[in-house]
Symmetry: C2
Subunit: 206 residues, 2 copies
């Protein structure tokens, strides 16, 4: 069964919360308590758990250890996905470590890329950084489908186009955009500069 995108996102968040309770023996949690922590409606929580086939009791709520097992088995994938980081400057390196240091992260980074010869043709934490011109070959070799963009360049569209041609299916963007991708490509924007501009505007209006 293919779950809705938002349900998967929330399951991942429920799991993170529940892990704080799992050392308590026979602990239970109510949907409204979980909902409060995530600022969502308790109905939403109950609907998500129904979707993965887990039910609680109205008296005690959900049994935490069991619920965690259910979420784990839903989110655990038959195999890890391979991802790459484009741009191994300081931000790229920090993201690499941040991602790799997560013990339950479903993503493996077998190779990275850069357009700057200062960063490419070397290893970071034991992983090779290639020149971006080698993307088609390396992305195909490792079956990489996810690209994290941490690159500063004026030709971001050109970089993105070359990644898509090489077989990338989804992009997490930390670079200043914008750029276009076809509708079947999953794009998540983490543009911190635009965010800070927006926040500053609102604070100054108050």
């Amino acid at each position: 069964m293919k779950l809705p995108s938002k349900t998967v996102e929330r399951l991942s968040q429920y799991r993170r919360i529940l892990q704080n309770y799992k050392h308590l023996e026979e602990s239970y949690i109510f949907s409204h308590d979980l909902a409060k922590l995530l600022k969502i409606n308790p109905v939403q929580v109950r609907r998500d758990f129904m979707l993965i086939g887990f039910s609680g009791s109205s008296r005690n709520g959900y049994e935490v250890t069991n619920l965690l097992d259910y979420i784990d088995s839903t989110l655990t994938l038959p195999k890890s996905q391979n991802a790459t980081i484009i741009g191994m400057g300081e931000l790229g390196k920090a993201l690499f470590k941040h991602i790799s240091s997560n013990p339950v992260c479903p993503v493996i980074i077998p190779a990275t890329f850069d357009i700057d010869p200062k960063n490419s043709n070397q290893e970071n934490y034991g992983i090779s950084c290639f020149d971006l011109t080698r993307a088609p070959e390396i992305i195909n070799k490792y079956d990489i489908q996810i690209a994290v963009l941490a690159l500063v360049t004026n030709d971001i569209q050109e970089v993105v186009d070359s990644l898509l041609v090489s077989g990338i299916k989804s992009i997490v963007n930390f670079s200043a955009g914008p750029f276009r991708v076809p509708d079947n490509i999953y794009l998540k924007d983490f543009d911190i500069r635009t965010t800070l501009e927006e926040i500053s505007y609102f604070i100054s209006q108050e």
Copy 2:
């Protein structure tokens, strides 16, 4: 006039696109071309420009240089806002450089914090990193209202609570959450681990 949050976000994105055209003399752009680049409705683009009092002609579209001036004067703030980074490990340092290297960034970072003595009580790029226990005093001294969280800790709620008490009004979160904030606090989540979990799930279902 206080603009809607989404309009400010789009204005910031329009500006970034238009800057690519401004060196062309007397260049014009149509709302539908701008809309296509951002994958939104052209009606939305025209509505946004009406809101800031800028109009184009149906024949030529919008004059780029003029439009850029209008957007600039709308988004330019009477003064820069002060922000801080909580957690000056590798991710925090990389975010510091990424933010500071933006010439039009409306945010200044006068101080940073960490809970790890290995990172605090020193300078990074000329900016002091303080122990988080000094947050109330330093945040007040520099009138800091924005906090970027780049901290790995199990007590993220405790850290967030101490920041809010110190006067922080908005949080950009790169740490694994979740945590609660009151409704009047602007929270933007950049949780890359959850995002990768979500993306992996969808790729594996295809």
